[in-house]
């Protein structure tokens, strides 16, 4: 299929999407999508190999080269098809392709590509947030197994997950970066307890996970024993490459634009926002998103042209986080006390979406490396200021 001229291929992809994707799903990654419709779509997508279009076919992928895979991704994005919300696809899969043994790839990749196993990520711990490498969850060898004891937090989808990819300490005496292993094990077993965590926005997608004698097979360590930190960092890069002003997270994205909201709430006077300070604030925000978009595009153009460029991954994450937070700050200012309703009289769903989005986006400057960590990375790696 990769030999098809690219524009013919694009047409093929478009036709297939047109035939397969129901119109009620063409609204992006919203949480309130019709369930049956979504399930059927994801099934069709994975059977076609397009959940992971660029993975080799022997591992359940589409077997497409980068160019063709990019066409599939772009066309799906163009019609705002809901993406597969899977840590298996976005994070674990690429990491397994790079670090997994042949046996591990054959065992884990096909079910990921067919979207059959739900994964969760066991990284953060109560005492290991930004300083992830200080994690304390222990894994002790016992025959062909490891026995796991400890606690993880901020585990997305842990209550529904079948398996976890987890960072564990296999050598407590080694320096902190050198005693960590990257291991996979099932969640549905004795010794694993999941306790949902309700956040300030009312959502409960995250959990705390407690391990007390949970078992993992030794053959499911990815990469070398005690060499998990390298694997872990690589996986984080896959995590970061999914944000940075492009896809964004999955939130209850408000249906009206910020400009529309501000115009409606603040009012226009002779075609101009009635409050000059709000006008400045909104324009500054629009200019910020414009500049971020251009900066990401410029980086992509530089990469395509093979020009050397300073790495802007951390910069993109940092500015994107600030931008989405500021957007919701402005929305709250525009709504005034109308934005404070939670339930009951006078609370309408559109406003509540905004209020929740304001709360949800507080996390954007924390997860995936806090703003402060991103600035540290820029200072050290990009500007090379000695520490």
């Amino acid at each position: 299929m990769s030999s098809t001229p690219i524009e013919d291929f694009r047409q093929e992809v478009r036709d297939w999407i047109e035939d397969t994707l129901p119109s009620d799903l063409r609204v992006g990654n919203r949480k309130d999508l019709p369930r049956d419709s979504l399930r059927n779509w994801l099934k069709a997508l994975s059977e076609h190999g397009w959940v992971a279009p660029d993975w080799p076919t022997e591992y359940g992928g589409g077997g497409l080269d980068r160019k063709h895979a990019a066409v599939v991704k772009a066309e799906l994005k163009r019609v705002r098809a809901p993406a597969v919300r899977s840590f298996g696809i976005s994070m674990l899969g690429p990491t397994l392709l790079e670090f997994g043994t042949e046996e591990q790839k054959r065992e884990f990749l096909p079910p990921i590509a067919r979207n059959r196993i739900r994964w969760c990520q066991g990284y953060s711990e109560p005492g290991a947030g930004s300083d992830l490498a200080s994690l304390q969850t222990r894994a002790v060898r016992d025959g062909d197994d490891y026995v796991i004891t400890g606690q993880k937090i901020w585990t997305t989808g842990a209550d529904a997950a079948d398996w976890i990819f987890c960072l564990v300490r296999t050598d407590p005496k080694a320096p902190k970066h050198e005693g960590i292993s990257f291991i996979l094990f099932p969640m549905k077993q004795p010794g694993v307890e999941v306790s949902p965590l309700t956040l300030i926005d009312g959502s409960a997608d995250f959990s705390q996970v407690f391990f007390d004698g949970a078992r993992a097979q030794a053959k499911h360590i990815i990469g070398p024993v005690n060499g998990g930190w390298t694997v872990a960092k690589r996986l984080l890069q896959h995590e970061r490459s999914t944000d940075g002003g492009s896809e964004g997270g999955i939130t209850n994205t408000p249906k009206d634009t910020l400009v529309d909201l501000v115009k409606r709430e603040v009012g226009l006077d002779d075609g101009v926002l009635a409050d000059p300070a709000m006008r400045q604030r909104l324009a500054a925000q629009e200019l910020e998103s414009r500049a971020l978009r251009l900066t990401m595009r410029r980086a992509a153009e530089q990469a395509r042209a093979g020009q050397t460029a300073r790495d802007i991954g951390s910069l993109g994450k940092y500015r994107w986080a600030n931008m989405v937070k500021d957007q919701q700050d402005i929305a709250m200012l525009a709504l005034g006390t109308q934005g404070l309703g939670w339930t009951g009289c006078g609370v309408d769903p559109t406003q509540l979406d905004r209020t929740r989005a304001w709360l949800t986006t507080r996390a954007d400057s924390i997860w995936g490396g806090t703003n402060e960590v991103q600035l540290n990375v820029i200072a050290k790696r990009v500007l090379q200021i000695p520490e």
């Binding site: 020009q307 200072a379 000695p386």
Partner: protein, 379 residues
């Protein structure tokens, strides 16, 4: 055009970079300032730049120009900005030159532009009458007088007005100050009877003039564009000039930032390099981000002109709003991070600081351009 330099532009950049480093290091700008040089820039250097084809970049070949794009012009301006070269690009090429190019008759093109491209003629644009940028707030009047007009009024902050051969003058032919309508542009000879030019030396070592027009006669053939319709030309002139100025600012940002970064790596206090302090590391990282964002919007704006896109005005304001804020940030942080030494006239960083403030306030500050951007976007 994209958001990256083409192969040819990269070659031009390297050429311009070595040219300015060799012929016009910051020390030369300082010497011109300290000697209170009559011209304030180097005419010889301007001629050399003309021979390289750089002055004529945005002008058509028919008037001796190189007929190239703003991508190329910006490439040269960035390097010019790096060394703070006070060459009259803004006055002669971007403001005066563009006004003549966009509004002038073929006869005016032939009369004025070849010698602009050859580096022999200096132009300026006399529009400003008060400190804050408000291009339509014009009281200077031009009244009809036979075939021509008589101009009365006073302009200030006319960049390079002290040495300009022609003064492109904005005057009111109808309506009242503040109105967009009723403005007209005239080409006035600096030596015309009734013109008084008084030099102003600016904080950044550059020069401007206060120009008084006392019943100055100007012929009808020296009107640019339509009578009462000067604002239409002015919009495009300001958009292009603003984008060009931002390219120059980008070069100044780069150099000021790199010098400051270097200082963080060598200066020691409390027994350690000050660059080890997280407070400074984070601020340096933030400056880097602003610099990269400024670069993106400048490159987008130059390609908007070159691709003849319909959003040049939005781009100009998006760019100047950003660059004005970045000028304030990088200029201020450059002084602060240099500490006491940054306050001394002897240390070059102060020259960058002052140039950035001048550029920030020239052709509209961030508040002005955010307001304009909002208006263009329908709010």
């Amino acid at each position: 055009m994209g958001l990256i330099l083409t192969e040819d532009q990269l070659i031009l950049r390297d050429m311009a970079s070595s040219f300015f480093a060799e012929k016009s290091p910051v020390a030369r700008m300082r010497a011109l300032r300290d000697s209170r040089d009559d011209t304030g820039f180097s005419r010889e250097l301007w001629k050399e730049m003309a021979e390289l084809g750089w002055i004529g970049i945005p002008f058509p070949e028919s008037v001796g120009g190189a007929d190239m794009g703003y991508g190329e012009l910006a490439t040269v301006l960035v390097e010019c900005g790096r060394v703070l070269a006070p060459q009259p690009f803004l006055s002669t090429v971007l403001l005066g030159g563009n006004a003549v190019l966009l509004g002038g008759s073929e006869a005016l093109h032939k009369e004025l532009l070849p010698s602009v491209c050859s580096g022999d003629r200096i132009l300026c644009l006399a529009f400003q009458e008060q400190g804050r940028f408000a291009p339509h707030r014009v009281e200077t009047s031009a009244t009809s007088d036979g075939d021509g007009f008589r101009i009365r009024g006073r302009k200030q902050f006319v960049l390079d007005g002290h040495v300009a051969d022609q003064i492109v003058t904005l005057a009111r032919t109808a309506s009242t100050p503040g109105d967009r309508a009723g403005l007209s542009l005239f080409v006035v000879d600096a030596g015309a009877p009734g013109v008084t030019v008084e030099r102003t030396e600016l904080i950044d070592g550059r020069n401007a003039a206060c120009i008084t027009f006392d019943d100055v006669a100007v012929g009808g053939a020296r009107v640019l564009g339509e009578i009462d319709g000067g604002a239409d030309i002015l919009d495009t002139v300001f958009d292009r000039a603003t984008i060009g100025l931002c390219a120059e600012m980008l070069g100044t940002f780069e150099e000021a930032f790199e010098r400051t970064l270097e200082y963080l790596k060598i200066r020691e206090q409390f027994g350690v390099k000050i660059g080890t302090f997280q407070a400074l590391r984070h601020r340096a990282a933030h400056m880097f981000g602003e610099l990269e964002f400024a670069r993106s919007v400048v490159l987008d704006a130059t390609s908007a002109i070159d691709d003849d896109r319909d959003d040049v005005a939005e781009c100009a304001s998006a760019t100047k709003a950003r660059c004005s804020d970045v000028a304030n940030l990088i200029g201020g942080e450059a002084i602060q991070m240099h500490g006491g030494i940054g306050m001394t006239d002897e240390e070059d960083i102060g020259l960058f600081f002052k140039r950035l403030k001048a550029a920030e306030l020239t052709l509209g500050d961030a508040i002005y351009h955010r307001k304009r951007f909002a208006g263009l976007c329908g709010y």
